[in-house]
Amino acid sequence: MIKKLVIFLTLLLVTGCWDYRELNDLAIVGSLSIDIVDDEFVIAAQIMNAKKEGGSGNSSSGSTSTPIVVYKFSANTISNTLRKMTTESPRKLYIGHIAMVLISENAAKIGFKEISDFLLRDHESRKQFKVLIIKDNPVDQALSILDHLETLTIQATLNSLNNASSYYGNVTPIGFDEFIALGFSKGIEGIIPYAILEGDPKEGEKKESTEITIPQAKIILKGLSVFKDDKLIGFLDDNDSIGFNFLMGNLKSAMIPFKCDEKNYATTEIINYKTDMKIEIKNDLPVVKIKVTGEANQAEINCNVDMEVIEGRDFIMNLMNEEIKRLMSNSIDNVKENFGSDIFGFERYLYRHNYKYWKKVEKKWDELFKKIEYEIDVNFMLAKKGSTLDSIKGVNNGE
C-alpha cells in the first residue's frame, strides 16, 4: 500500500507541470536592438507574431496584422527594460530564440562590456546569436523594417549576413560568444559586421511597403567594424573587409575583380585557400610573414587574353595574385595607420608562440603594431575555366 502511494505521489511530481509556461503566454523575441542614450539603455525587441505566423485559423486577423511586433523601452539596465515591456506586451518576453542583436554605433563606442553582462548571464539567452552594428541610423529602426522575401526581418538580415559572408566576403558573422571570447583573449581585438539603413525606415515598417516591388527601406551590410578594448573605433570599407577576411582565413568564397588591360576587368572566384601566418623576429622587431595558397575559378574575363596558352593563364594568375596581395596590404596598412587596433591577432601569435619576446614588448605593443612590417606571398592556381575555354575577346581576336 505504502509502495503504491509513494509511486502515485512521485507520478504527481514528475508531470512537468511545475511552474510551466504555455507557449501562448510567451512573446518570442527574434531580435533585440540596444542603444545607450543619456546613460539609459534603449531596447527594442522584435517579437514574432505567432498569430500571423502560425495561421491560427482566424484568417481575418492573420491578414491584417504584421508578422512582427516591435516594442521599445528605456531603463537603467537591459533586464529591467525587458521586464518593463510587459507593461505594453500582453505576453512575457522570451529571449531564448534570439537570432541576432543589433547594436547602435553609439552603444558600441561606449563599450561592448556595458551591454554584455545580461546577455551572457541570463539563463534563457543561448549566447550564440549574431551581433551586428547599425551605423548612423537609430538602431531600433532596423528592427521595424518589413522584408519582401522573408516573413521575419531578422531572418532576412541573418540570411544576408550568411550569404554575404559565403559568397562575397565583406562580412563575417560573429556570434556574441565569439566576440566576448575575443574581448577576453590576449593580443587580439574584436571585429563585428556593420550595416546601414537605406531608404525611408518609416515607410519600410508599413505593411503596404511589401506590396511595392522596390523596397522602401533596406538593411545593407557594408563591412566590418573595428574595436579596441571593447570599444568601437571605426569601420572598414568593402575592400579592406575582404582583405581582412582573406588574411584571417574567414572567406568561404569571393569574387576578385582586377584590371586585365587599360579599360577592362577580369574576375576570378576563390574556391578554396589557406592562409599561413608566421612572425619572425629580425633586429628585435617582428616581421609578419603571410603565405596564401589556393585555387580559383575563372569567372569572367573581359580582356583580350588567350587563355589557351600558359602565358595567358599565368598573366591572369599573376594579376589575381597581385590583387589579393593588394587587398590584404591595404587592409593591414589602413588598420595600422588609422585605427592602431590589432584585429589580426599578431600580438596573440607572439603571445602563443614566442612568449619571451611578447613579454618584452607587451607594454609597447600599440606602438610596435603601427610600425610592424609584413611580407605577403600569394600563390593561387586557376583550377577551372568555366564553360568556355577562351575569353570572348580572345576568340574574336584569334578569328
Binding site: A181, F184, S185
Partner: protein, 374 residues
C-alpha cells in the same frame, strides 16, 4: 533487502570509483581548474593524475588490509573505541560534505539550465528519491547501476569527443606554462581534493564482499587513471574549442561547449541530452556516500531490521537536503564553499586520515612480523 545483495565484482567496484571520482568535475573542479591554470589546465590534470597515484595507493593499502572489515570496523580495530570513533565521525562528516556538495552541484545545474522556476528543494527531493531507492536496495544495486551507466557514459563521452573534433583549435592551448610550474602544481593539488575523496568512499565496501577481489588493485588503479583521462579529455576539448578565457567565464564550460555540436545541419541542442554524463557521476557518488553513512549508522546503532535501515537512509537523505538548503542556500555561497572550504575540509582531512590509517596498518604489520619471527 540490502543485506541480501552483498556481492559485487572487482570491475563494478572500480566502476563506482571511476564514476564518482569525476562527480564534481563539471561546475566545480573544472571551474577552479580553469581559474588556476587556464590554457595549461590539461597539464595540471596530467600532473594531478601522477600525484594522485600516491593517495590512491594508500586507499588501496587500506582496502587490502583485513579484507572482511569495512573502513569503520578497521578504524575501530586499529585505534580502539575512543580515537576510532573520533576518526570515524570525521570521515562521516567528510562523507556528508561530499554528499551535500554533489547534491548542490546537481540541483544547481538543473536549476540554472532547465528548472529555473522550480524550488531547489523539490529538485533535490526528486533526485534524492532515486539515490535513496538504490541505496536501500544495497551495494549490489549501486554496483550494477554503475556498470550499466558506465556504458552509457562511455558512449556519450565518445560521441561528444568525436562530434567536437572539427572544432578543436590547438593554438588555444598556447603558451605553455608561461608563469612557470608553481600555479600548475597548486592547481593539481587542489584538483585532486575534488577527486580523491570519492575514491576514499570505496573503503566502506569490505574487500571480501568483492567476488574476484585479487583484481581490485589493478581495477581501481585503472578506474582512477581512466577517470582522470576522461577529465583530461574534457578539459582539453573545452579549452581547445572555446579558448581558456571564454571557458573560464562559464559556470558549466562543458555544457557550453556541447552547444557547439551540430551534426548534418539539423542535429543540435544535444547538450541537454549529453549533460546526463555528469548526472550519472553525481548519482553514483551520492549513492555510495549515502551507503557509507548508512553503514556507519548500522554499525553504531546495531541496526538489524530492514525497516529501521530504510528509515535511517531516508533520514540521512532528509538531513542532507536540509543541510544543502541551509548551507548552500545560493549558488554564490555554494561556489565560495566549494572553492575555499571543501578542498581543506574534505580533501586534506581525507588525505590525513587515510595516511594515519596506512601508517598504523604498516606498523601493525611490522609488529606482527616481528612477533611471528620471535
Amino acid at each position: 533487502m540490502g543485506s541480501k545483495n552483498n556481492k559485487i565484482s572487482a570491475f563494478q567496484f572500480a566502476v563506482i570509483g571511476f564514476l564518482s571520482g569525476a562527480s564534481l568535475f563539471e561546475g566545480v573542479a573544472s571551474v577552479f581548474l580553469l581559474e588556476s591554470s587556464m590554457q595549461n589546465s590539461w597539464i595540471t590534470v596530467i600532473i594531478a593524475l601522477i600525484v594522485g597515484l600516491l593517495p590512491i595507493g594508500l586507499i588501496l593499502y587500506v582496502i587490502n588490509y583485513e579484507p572482511e572489515k569495512n573502513i569503520i570496523e578497521k578504524i575501530n580495530h586499529l585505534f580502539g573505541p575512543i580515537i576510532g570513533n573520533i576518526m570515524n565521525v570525521i570521515l562521516i562528516g567528510v562523507t556528508f560534505v561530499i554528499l551535500i556538495t554533489n547534491l548542490w552541484s546537481l540541483v544547481n545545474f538543473a536549476e540554472v539550465k532547465y528548472l529555473t522556476e522550480t524550488p531547489a528543494t523539490v529538485i533535490a527531493i526528486l533526485f534524492m528519491a532515486t539515490v535513496v531507492y538504490s541505496t536501500i536496495k544495497g551495494i549490489e544495486t549501486i554496483a550494477r547501476s554503475s556498470e550499466v551507466l558506465l556504458y552509457l557514459f562511455i558512449i556519450f563521452q565518445i560521441f561528444v569527443t568525436f562530434a567536437l573534433i572539427g572544432n578543436l583549435e590547438i593554438d588555444n592551448l598556447f603558451p605553455i606554462m608561461e608563469n612557470g610550474i608553481s600555479p600548475i602544481l597548486n592547481g593539481s593539488f587542489k584538483f585532486l581534493t575534488y577527486v580523491i575523496p570519492s575514491f576514499m568512499l570505496l573503503t566502506i565496501i569490505p574487500k571480501s564482499m568483492v567476488e574476484d577481489n585479487k583484481k581490485i588493485t589493478k581495477y581501481v588503479i585503472n578506474g582512477y587513471v581512466i577517470s582522470m583521462l576522461v577529465m583530461l579529455l574534457s578539459i582539453f576539448v573545452v579549452v581547445s574549442v572555446v579558448g581558456p578565457n571564454l571557458a573560464d567565464l562559464y559556470r558549466f564550460p562543458s555544457y557550453y561547449v556541447m552547444k557547439k555540436i551540430h551534426l548534418t545541419g539539423f542535429v543540435e541542442n544535444l547538450e541537454n541530452i549529453l549533460s546526463i554524463l555528469w548526472i550519472i557521476n553525481m548519482y553514483i557518488c551520492m549513492s555510495i556516500s549515502l551507503h557509507y553513512i548508512s553503514t556507519y549508522l548500522n554499525n553504531v546503532f546495531k541496526i538489524k531490521s530492514d525497516l529501521k535501515r530504510v528509515i535511517s537512509i531516508i533520514a540521512i537523505a532528509a538531513i542532507a537536503i536540509y543541510l544543502k538548503d541551509k548551507y548552500y542556500y545560493s549558488s554564490v555561497v555554494g561556489i565560495l564553499i566549494v572553492r575555499n572550504i571543501y578542498p581543506y575540509i574534505v580533501g586534506v582531512a581525507t588525505l590525513i586520515i587515510i595516511s594515519i590509517i596506512s601508517i598504523k596498518i604498516f606498523f601493525n604489520k611490522k609488529s606482527k612480523e616481528i612477533q611471528n619471527q620471535s
